[in-house]
């Protein structure tokens, strides 16, 4: 009874309010210029809350470049004014959800209208673009917290597609990616790059050197694969071997070095001696080959004591 009475009063008040006006006042924009035609229906209770865009850079209305709803979604006349003969309200001209029927190129075009310069210059030829990755596959526009732009949550966004890296980053030897200290975008430019592997620098080595510059040399004694490509020996995403090595020593070293002298020695956890380079523990335990060849990335020692070409001093 009480509910019915409340409803009746509300209806009466509403009717009174409505009759007091000759015509309804125009709706006010809530966040962006011209958004009233959208926010008359869409609010914070939608599956994708729309008002939260106000928390973002896209909600900075003092910036004259800030887009409106229709800048991205199109004028969407059919959506706003449902045709009389339509059984369902047509979708906006451009939608960005995972199951959107808007072609990815058209979705991305909305973003590229403004975001084609700077670090996105090479987007169009990137592996992401050519494999139909939409900007909205990674970025969330209608939220104050875009996961891919937060170092603590970014890896999870990338791992949605990069499953192998998701597993590798959990191995015993790894970068501090799970801790949000070295994340995907520290090495990769997801928006495309001129160099290989969409890296932030033009080569693998130059990217590694941004943090591991001590390895670049040049040295008096250089180790050829070190100069050519760090990834010949290392997997930066994680391995079970110390120092992100792709394989355990001595097997990794024996994948290149001739079997003359001690280099073809048989790995073993017994036999030999710690100071010996023969088959057995000297080439297998502790730092393995590095027990003697301690400066494996190169040495700048100009003198010779015991074949400095082999990085022992």
């Amino acid at each position: 009874m009480r509910t019915s009475a409340t409803v009746a009063i509300l209806i009466a008040l509403l009717a009174g309010a409505a009759s007091a006006q000759d015509k309804p006042a125009p709706r006010k924009d809530l966040v962006l210029a011209g958004d009233a035609k959208c926010t008359r229906c869409h609010d914070e209770n939608d599956t994708v809350p729309v008002l939260a865009i106000g928390k973002t850079k896209h909600g900075t209305t003092a910036d004259q470049r800030t887009p409106t709803c229709t800048s991205c979604h199109g004028e969407s006349d059919g959506h706003i004014n449902k045709p009389a003969n339509a059984t369902e309200r047509p979708k906006p001209d451009r939608t960005f959800a995972k199951n959107s029927k808007t072609p990815v190129e058209a979705r991305n075009a909305a973003c590229l209208t403004c975001h084609q310069g700077g670090k996105r210059i090479h987007w169009m030829s990137s592996m992401h673009a050519t494999r139909d990755v939409a900007c909205s596959s990674c970025h969330e526009v209608h939220t104050g917290h875009d996961k891919v732009r937060d170092k603590t949550t970014q890896p999870d966004v990338c791992f949605n597609c990069h499953k192998q890296q998701r597993a590798e980053i959990r191995r015993p030897s790894r970068h501090p990616t799970l801790e949000g200290k070295v994340v995907c975008s520290d090495c990769h430019n997801a928006h495309g790059a001129a160099g290989e592997k969409m890296l932030v620098r033009d080569s693998i080595n130059d990217t590694c050197y941004t943090c591991h510059m001590e390895k670049r040399g040049p040295f008096v004694r250089t180790h050829q694969p070190v100069q050519e490509n760090c990834a010949i020996c290392h997997n930066p995403h994680g391995t079970v071997n110390d120092n992100l090595l792709k394989a355990r020593m001595p097997f990794l070293c024996q994948s290149c070095h001739e079997p003359t002298s001690h280099r073809g020695g048989v790995a073993g956890v017994t036999g030999g001696a710690s100071s010996s380079n023969a088959s057995g523990i000297g080439i297998t335990l502790a730092r393995a080959c590095l027990n003697c060849h301690t400066n494996i990335h190169g040495t700048n020692n100009p003198k010779d004591v015991g074949n400095e070409r082999t990085f022992r001093r």
């Binding site: 509300l10 209770n45 001129a194 073809g264 048989v266 700048n300």
Partner: protein, 677 residues
């Protein structure tokens, strides 16, 4: 109504209510809308307790000791709506060694600047028990202490970054940035297999960037300068005692610097055709004073590496169904370091006193076409070209070839089968070959030429991949991926012979109810490589396996290398009430290494398998006590175990042992209070 409480705001309903109760509610509505579009800020403070000393749980966050830790995070976002000026302060892990603090201000579309501090510890899983003294210095004495002490092996990076940017006009911007990083600490080191030493790390790394950018409707470019400077405050170790002065001093990394000028851009020839380019020139030098007197009289290497980089790309969509990508890049890394004979060949085993500059030229190209077929199929065909050219030294102890060239053909068929199912299948075939093999050379004789280095060997690679995504309902999302690759190596007799790689993954997510979701994933990776080698091959040979003695003491041997990794993740999150959020997360990583090498000489036991297990269970509860204030509780159970035998029986000459800390079981409980504003 706070974001944490999950209260949602329905404007339409509220609008009706406002009419009913009057204008007073209009103010409340405006306040609520203002809150909903105002940038969020949050500060949280609390404490966490770690149950046990460890080296894995706290490896990168610093919580390696049992005890209490301060948890302090802040994220402050403020915007002046009238001017568009943002002020942000972000602090993370401020009570831990992994702290980060950033302050930035910007007037959007006009100017901005930031200053950022980041600290990153890395605790080695290993601890040294040693009598070495002076381990933080450049003079270290093996066997220097009467009794062994426990030495923590840890490095730490502290980085300070800053940058400014200015939009000069609506199309032109200028950016300046720099990063200064200190890396200090201790790392495992040693010499001759007998002496334990510590690498006393004390690096300074500086990066400088300056760029000008232009963003037009058709053309965009950015050009500028990128400079680096590396300094090592401890560039050698004098190792006293132990195996003696023969292997002392030991050189540590020298200082070096580089300067790069670069220009990159893109141009939209038509709405469907775009070209891109990049040009860069880098001049890198290394002239750090030698740690020891050079018999040549030189005081430094005089190292110079000049690198020229160029890239050209074209993407086009000539018809609505066809798109084409072409890309070519070339990098010439010319090592112009003076070649000097640093010492006469008087020591046994020394092949040359001449330094060996490394010049590497690479040419990489890609041509790809994507064509939309009937029934929503898309066919992608591609060709990749990769050529590397390297110089060769007069003396080299590894089989060598100056040029390797790899050609790859690939095809992929993709289809959005329906609104709920999509998938792809792809195949790629690569073939790598190269120039003539060059036999190893010493100054006196032609050497060995038996083994094909892994990055120079002939290689044929076949790779297939299939993916399926299925979203049968709005509540269910499933993904599956399978990959298989097969390598076959050749060129010489020994070395890697063949290998395979397999990877499978399954992902699933299910929305149980409006506010509850469960997700899980599983992946398995299995990589194998077969290595053929021999002990004590003849120093001079013609590449035939007959150069191997193939005796019991020096056998021809094989190793069947294998890594099997299984990883699982399960997560559950939900909101049982408007005030309470719960999350549970379990992750398991299980890896096994196999080696299966042999036959072995008498007394040598082949290498056993290694296993690594890590599981992390995380429970989180967040309770909104008031509109803007709440409590967050967290519990983590972290276990690690391995049977890795690397250090188990190893003892250095002075009795130094490395403790591998093979088992870990840590419980972590934390409580913090947050405040939103």
């Amino acid at each position: 109504m706070s974001a944490r409480s999950g209260g949602k705001f329905r404007l339409t309903a509220m609008a009706a209510a406002m009419l009913a109760v009057g204008a007073a509610w209009a103010d409340e509505r405006d306040d609520e809308i203002a809150r909903l579009k105002r940038p969020d800020s949050e500060v949280s403070v609390g404490a966490g307790y770690v149950s046990d000393d460890n080296t894995r749980f706290g490896q990168y966050n610093g919580m390696t000791n049992e005890g209490l830790y301060l948890l302090f995070d802040a994220r402050i976002r403020q915007r002046d709506d009238a001017t568009g000026k943002w002020t942000n302060i972000t602090g993370r892990n401020l009570g831990l060694e992994s702290r980060e603090l950033r302050f930035d201000q910007s007037k959007q579309g006009d100017w901005g600047y930031f200053i950022d501090f980041s600290q990153t510890p890395r605790y080695s899983p290993y601890t040294a028990l040693t009598r070495l003294t002076g381990y933080d210095s450049t003079t270290q004495t093996v066997n220097g202490a009467a009794t062994p002490t426990q030495v923590e092996l840890k490095t730490e990076r502290k980085a300070l970054s800053a940058g400014v940017d200015k939009w000069v006009s609506s199309r032109w911007d200028v950016r300046l940035g720099t990063r200064y990083e200190e890396k200090t600490g201790r790392r495992l080191f040693g010499r001759t297999g007998s002496d334990f030493l510590v690498d006393p790390i004390d690096y300074r790394t500086q990066l400088y960037e300056a760029s000008v950018g232009y963003t037009g409707e058709k053309g965009q470019f950015t050009g500028g300068y990128y400079g680096t400077n590396f300094v090592n405050n401890k560039n050698h170790i004098d190792g006293l005692g132990g195996t003696g002065p023969t292997y002392s001093p030991i050189a540590l990394p020298p200082a070096s610097q580089s300067h790069q000028a670069h220009l990159a851009g893109g141009y939209n020839f038509t709405p469907t055709t775009r070209g891109t380019y990049k040009l860069a020139y880098t001049h890198q030098t290394q002239d750090d004073t030698f740690i020891d007197v050079s018999t040549t009289g030189r005081s430094n290497l005089g190292g110079v590496v000049d690198t020229k980089f160029g890239q050209l790309g074209l993407t086009a969509r000539p018809t609505s169904g066809l798109s084409v990508v072409a890309d070519l890049r070339k990098e010439n890394r010319d090592d112009k370091t003076p070649v000097v004979d640093y010492f006469p060949i008087t020591v046994t085993g020394t092949a040359t006193g001449v330094n060996e500059p490394r010049t590497i030229h690479s040419t990489v190209g890609k041509l790809e076409a994507s064509y939309l077929l009937p029934a929503a199929f898309r066919l992608i065909g591609g060709y990749d070209y990769d050529q590397r050219r390297r110089n060769t030294s007069d003396v080299h102890v590894v089989s060598y070839r100056e040029t390797t060239t790899e050609n790859t053909l690939r095809a992929e068929l993709r289809r959005s089968l329906s609104e709920t199912v999509n998938g792809s299948i792809g195949y790629a075939h690569s073939k790598r070959g190269g120039s003539e093999w060059q036999t190893t050379l010493t100054t006196t004789a032609t050497g060995s030429n038996l083994l094909q280095p892994l990055h120079l060997a002939d290689r044929e690679r076949d790779k297939v991949r299939a993916t399926v995504g299925w979203t049968p309902t709005e509540k269910v999302d499933l993904q599956a991926r399978a990959e298989y690759s097969k390598d076959k190596y050749g060129g010489r007799t020994l070395g890697l012979q063949d290998g395979t790689g397999q990877f499978y993954s399954l992902d699933g997510a299910y929305r149980i109810a409006e506010s509850w979701q469960i997700l899980g994933w599983f992946s398995r990776e299995d990589t194998r490589a077969n290595l053929l080698d021999c002990a004590s091959a003849a120093g001079t040979n013609n590449g035939e396996i007959t150069a191997c003695p193939n005796t019991t003491a020096s056998p021809i041997w094989t190793a069947h290398l294998r890594n099997v990794g299984t990883a699982i993740g399960i997560g559950l999150k939900g909101k049982p009430t408007g005030q309470l959020e719960l999350a549970a997360d379990f992750q398991l990583s299980n890896d096994r290494g196999e080696f299966r090498n042999g036959p072995t000489p008498v007394g040598v036991t082949s290498v056993p398998d290694t296993k690594y297990n890590r599981s992390v269970t995380k429970l989180t509860a967040t309770y909104a006590m008031q509109k803007n204030t709440g409590l967050k509780l967290q519990y983590i159970h972290d276990r690690f175990s391995t049977n890795d035998w690397t250090w188990d029986t190893w003892t250095y000459s002075d009795g130094t042992r490395i403790l591998p800390n093979s088992q870990q079981k840590v419980d972590f409980i934390a409580a913090s209070v947050y405040y939103n504003f």
